[in-house]
């Protein structure tokens, strides 16, 4: 137990020591403009948080008269757990198998289950930060609007703490089983990717695909039964029903029953993970970094051919970025694959029964209002293209190789240009995926999709430049676990907050322009012009700070 705690302590320290480095960075007051940028982003993101609370409140008001208010809790818990299950796959894969401290940990006199338990603890703490935004507001709104007794609040805190355990432990089990299977093959990188995608598809399919279509009568039954909606939502993942019931019932006999059920299953799954760790973990890990090396000597002619092409410096940078991103499984999963994933998820969601509600909602948003439909589609495309962390980790990803960028005779602003092209390419792919989903799944017309795509492409250039500026201001180069460079990189989160803020600002602009009497084509053209101006300014700004920042980053 002492050893376990020591491991966990070391893991947490390593995880959060970087936070103190960041702290120092802010204290040094080198980059005041950056603080301004962050303040702007948070200011912009604040309305979203407030908006979320308002939507939850309205939802409660709608559900209450039908006696379905517990569905609010189920929905929030389900969303939180689904999020953890899906993203947990990446976290767990990276932390269990690709972290560079593993060689060191394996050499320690610690048992596999202790190593896994420590790593699990660190991920768990990180997950709390993630789900806080999704789940806690729903708990607060429910607790306040249903006027729950005091006892509700400690229970809510307990449920919040237990919430990530089941999905994360399940992710861990799935990943360990997969890695045990994959590690026998020589083409490991490929199989790791294929395996992760298969797991992801399986999880999504179970969650969304199997829902099937229900007849109207059956749907009615769910709505008329007490808590029927909550049960409908949670039927694929019963723990979230138990957790919601436990909160709704409080300290009654039934409530305590659910508490024992939820807590018991959480502990049981965790123990199962640790048990499996003893059997699967090292066998999946050892030899993982051995790659298939061909070791075939190239002839002089073949060699000459490999060197026949001379590229421009920015092309060389672009190619390097593309290769490094796509060949590091963790980066690939977070980059292009997550770009593909959003539309695919949307497609499945719309196809499943649960999704038809959101479809109706989307249709409602744009009902008869072409301009609004274009704007909302553009926002969706932007989310598809820019929320993947490619741009906001572009410098961090170089890690300990950053010294190369400092010694090569390529001006920083040209290097940044190559990197911009790479990030923007990923954003363009995301917009294309979003377009496909909008056409195929939602059935939007080309008249909406094309202008929306144009708007999204211009806004994408703006956001890509802003996201890169955030990472350039404070790149995280000291990582050992690639996940830290991208998903767990604070820059990526900050950039997302900024993106949300700017998208909201564009929305405000839209409202203002409309109030001023613009509509139809004029409105969209005005929006395009404003976005293009912002993009030009952001690119100019990025080019301006590049040289100064490159000179200051010590590699």
């Amino acid at each position: 137990m002492r050893r376990l705690l020591a491991l966990l302590g070391a893991g947490l320290r390593q995880n959060f020591a970087l936070a103190t480095i960041r702290h120092k960075f802010f204290k040094q007051k080198q980059e005041r403009w950056l603080l301004l940028l962050f303040a702007l982003g948070l200011l912009g993101a604040a309305p979203l948080v407030v908006g979320y609370f308002i939507v939850l409140g309205r939802l409660y008001a709608i559900l209450k008269p039908m006696g379905q208010e517990t569905a609010l809790l189920t929905l929030a818990i389900l969303a939180g757990q689904l999020l953890i299950l899906v993203f947990g796959l990446f976290y767990v894969l990276s932390a269990f198998y690709f972290s560079r401290d593993l060689e060191f940990l394996v050499a320690l006199p610690a048992r596999p289950f202790e190593v896994i338990a420590a790593k699990f603890g660190v991920i768990l703490v990180n997950e709390y930060l993630t789900v806080l935004l999704v789940v806690a507001p729903a708990f607060i709104v429910y607790g306040a609007m249903a006027a729950r007794p005091i006892a509700y609040w400690p229970l809510a805190a307990l449920v919040f703490l237990l919430l990530p355990v089941i999905p994360l432990a399940l992710s861990g089990l799935l990943v360990m089983a997969m890695m045990r299977l994959v590690n026998v093959s020589r083409k490991k990188d490929f199989f790791i990717l294929a395996g992760s995608l298969a797991l992801l598809a399986a999880v999504l399919f179970l969650q969304l695909g199997l829902a099937g279509t229900r007849g109207p009568e059956e749907m009615m039954r769910f709505f008329t039964a007490a808590d029927g909606l909550a049960r409908l939502l949670g039927e694929k993942f019963p723990p979230c029903i138990w957790a919601a019931r436990l909160l709704a019932e409080g300290f009654s006999a039934r409530g305590i029953g659910y508490l024992i059920l939820f807590g018991g299953i959480s502990v049981a799954v965790l123990l199962l993970l640790l048990w499996a760790a003893e059997r699967l973990f090292y066998r999946g890990l050892i030899g993982l970094s051995e790659m298939a090396a061909r070791r075939t000597k190239l002839s002089a002619a073949a060699l000459a051919e490999r060197f026949a092409r001379r590229r421009h410096d920015w092309q060389a940078i672009l190619l390097r970025e593309w290769r490094l991103m796509n060949r590091t499984p963790i980066f690939l999963l977070n980059g292009i694959l997550s770009v593909v994933l959003v539309p695919v998820m949307l497609f499945f969601m719309v196809r499943s029964g649960a999704g038809s509600a959101s479809l109706a909602f989307l249709k409602l948003l744009g009902s008869g209002d072409r301009s609004a439909e274009i704007l909302f589609s553009a926002a969706f495309f932007i989310a598809c293209g820019c929320l993947n962390g490619t741009a906001s980790s572009t410098f961090s990803r170089e890690g300990s190789s950053f010294w190369i960028s400092k010694v090569i005779p390529v001006a920083p602003c040209r290097q940044v240009a190559g990197k911009f092209l790479h990030s923007y390419l990923v954003a363009v792919l995301g917009v294309l995926g979003g377009m496909a989903a909008a056409r195929l799944a939602l059935g939007l017309s080309w008249q909406s999709v094309l202008p929306a795509a144009l708007l999204a492409l211009v806004a994408g250039a703006f956001l890509t430049a802003i996201n890169m500026a955030v990472d350039l201001a404070r790149p995280l180069l000291t990582w050992t676990n690639p996940q830290r460079a991208i998903k767990q990189n604070l820059n990526v989160l900050l950039a997302m907050a900024l993106d949300a803020g700017f998208v909201y600002a564009f929305y405000r602009l839209f409202v203002i322009l409309r109030r001023a009497g613009l509509d139809g084509r004029q409105l969209i053209l005005a929006m395009l012009a404003a976005t293009a101006l912002a993009a030009a300014a952001a690119l100019f700004f990025l080019g301006r700070i590049a040289a100064r920042r490159y000179a200051r980053i010590a590699a």
């Binding site: 190239l298 001379r310 190369i404 005779p409």
Partner: protein, 241 residues
């Protein structure tokens, strides 16, 4: 030619004085060895020369140009090999070499010829098409060296290049460096191995606790120390406090 003038650098806000008022000229055409015990400030000096770190004060010129006012001009004529070969693991050796050749603007004609020669010399030809991830530490070091030699720069800056190299590769490297200096090129390399320094260098500088302790040809160092013994003895005396 590399010129350092009153260069100072400290870490942790002045808590560690890594390089202290260092003034040094590395003339072209001579093999220049930079000696010092561990932690003397060799790597810090080298990182400032190649532009990875900025000095707190003082100036550095490469081929007559200030490396902070005209960084690109300086970088274009310099190739640097660090002590730790941390490079892009996910690229193959060939892709790495092509990247280096692209950013330094090496003509396509010369790339194949030069890289074949050095890949052969360093016995990397069989693994050049494999990911760098599969290389050993020494192989990584040699692929970085190959990249530097591919550029054929006027100035080589090498940080402890002999540590970790097998004897054959070390021999090839020494020959290449000799030829480079004979053509009038500049070479600045750090080491703490006395035999290498004594047999190989035309000119030496010894750095101790960030300060220049001695500088000159081996003969001059002997005269300064009033001692006709080995370099090792001089080194131990100059750095023995």
């Amino acid at each position: 030619m590399i010129e350092l003038k009153n260069v100072c650098k400290s870490y942790n806000k002045g808590a560690v004085r890594a390089v202290d008022d260092l003034t040094l000229t590395v003339p072209p055409g001579e093999i220049f060895g930079f000696l010092g015990p561990n932690g003397a400030g060799k790597t810090t000096t080298i990182k400032m020369i190649v532009g990875i770190l900025a000095p707190d004060s003082g100036a550095i010129a490469i081929a007559g140009r200030d490396n902070r006012r005209e960084p690109l001009a300086c970088k274009a004529v310099t190739a640097y090999v660090p002590d730790e070969p941390e490079i892009y693991e996910r690229l193959t050796g060939l892709e790495y070499l092509n990247f280096i050749a692209d950013v330094y603007g090496v003509p396509a004609r010369e790339r194949g010829e030069r890289s074949r020669r050095w890949l052969e010399a360093f016995e990397l030809a069989a693994v050049a098409a494999d990911p760098i991830q599969t290389y050993s530490h020494g192989m990584r070091q040699k692929i970085v060296l190959t990249g530097a030699l591919l550029v054929e720069p006027r100035v080589f800056v090498l940080d402890e290049p002999m540590t970790g190299l097998d004897p054959r590769s070390a021999h090839h490297l020494k020959e290449a460096m000799r030829a480079h200096c004979d053509r009038g090129g500049t070479l600045f390399f750090s080491t703490h191995v006395m035999e290498v320094a004594e047999k190989f260098c035309d000119r030496l500088a010894i750095i101790h606790k960030g300060r220049l302790a001695a500088c000159g040809t081996l003969e001059e160092l002997r005269r300064q120390a009033g001692d006709s013994g080995s370099l090792e003895k001089i080194f131990l005396e100059t750095t023995g406090s």
